[in-house]
Amino acid sequence: MADILRYGAYLPKHRTPLGELQSFYGRPGRPRSRTLATPGLDEDTLTMAYEAATEALAGERAPAALISVSMSSPFGLRKMSMTLSRALGLAADTVPYDLGGHPGGLMDAFALAAALATGDRPVAVVASDHQVSYEERVCDTLSAGGAAAFVIGASGGFATLGPQARASSEVYDVWRLGNEPEARYRLEVLFDAYAAAAKGAFTALEKATERPASVYASVAASQPHPQTLRGLGKLGVTAEQLAATSFVGEIGNLGAASVGVATAIALDAAEAGQQILAFGYGAGEGIAQAIEVTAAPPAIGAAARIAGEPIALGTYYRWTRGRQAEPH
């Protein structure tokens, strides 16, 4: 068991109207998201992680470890946690960890942080992603960016990390061929795998906690696509439980930051005594995390950040063109 001591979230202020983007690329149909949260030309995973971590660490004790979760360039081959630790001015003995491989990795980071946060110093966990899809593919994959950070301590927080349960299957919902500039996504495989992983993880968590999904005040889930959230309804998750934490239809897919930002929104609205279910999904694996709120959280107003300022299509094009091919 470990506690959440503080948290932070960052969403870039710019919003690309997806409907206009679809028209530009000649893609018919209703946009699956109203806008995309689009990082500026001078933003990336590191700068967004810095913003979220700065908010989470304000007034906190110096962490003993910093765990960063990301799948985006420019830190595919290099340690983001080390650079982030230096940017935050953390002590030289702060141990930097990096997790990648799937966008549900924040749940893995919670488990690692709970194991590491045994002494006086807490552990900082940061999930940050800046997804940039190749030209018209962005209309399907809703690629956007954001970051969320949590400070995990052994005790003394406002919420306790409860049991965690997971279900895994090997699927190919994302892969890369040869020298293609961007990975391919197969959405129908994603929808099926998300539903199967959610069912397995929710069932396992219910066994561990003896609580069905319906008792949670809210469900904060990874949301790569609006259709995945609809699949949670079959598991007993109500629209009310998802109402506050669903944003993929507004600002797109935040990748690894998705479940973190949703959890921040859920904590903002939570009251002492309530339970929150966080669900991270990626690459066929679903991880369900029970969170028990023990005191009023220090609300950060994360939900208010979903609204942003619209940018012109030309600006989006200028900021993102070639970005997916940046070196890692």
Partner: protein
């Protein structure tokens, strides 16, 4: 200035933190690039000192036709920031509409990309955002 990756490594660490140089003789705070010479007293013993990151915009201009390395970011604001510690630093002010920028505006430092080097190396540095009540971190 564009440099190769090897040259970049020789230039020292990227500016991940905001700092200035304190003169060990007259105690004056100098901008970060004055590493060897105090312009107040001429002393040559200066040490790095981290800044709190907040200050006031005391002068600015809007760049509409940027140098090659900053293409795509225009129009952007570059200002003189008088830090709360007293030293004046030049830096971009971002995430704000041009009409919202005024002399005397409170600003705070944040980490942003400065430019992308021609060998793919990312240059990070300190930029400033408005530090107004209700503004996002």
């Amino acid at each position: 200035m564009t440099v190769s990756a090897i040259e970049f490594s020789r230039l020292g660490p990227p500016k991940l933190r905001l700092y200035a140089m304190r003169c060990g003789s007259c105690n004056t705070l100098q901008p970060w690039w004055e590493k060897f010479h105090c312009y107040a007293c001429g002393a040559e013993r200066l040490t790095e000192e981290e800044l709190a990151g907040t200050g006031e915009l005391t002068n600015y201009t809007v760049v509409y036709y940027p140098p090659r390395d900053f293409l795509g970011q225009e129009p952007y604001v570059v200002g003189h920031i008088t830090m709360d510690e007293g030293v004046v630093l030049p830096a971009p002010v971002v995430d704000t509409a041009l009409e919202d920028v005024q002399l005397g505006t409170r600003v705070k430092a944040t980490l942003r990309r400065m430019k992308l080097g021609h060998e793919g190396d990312v240059y990070y540095s300190q930029k400033f955002v408005l530090d107004t009540p209700g503004a996002e971190a």
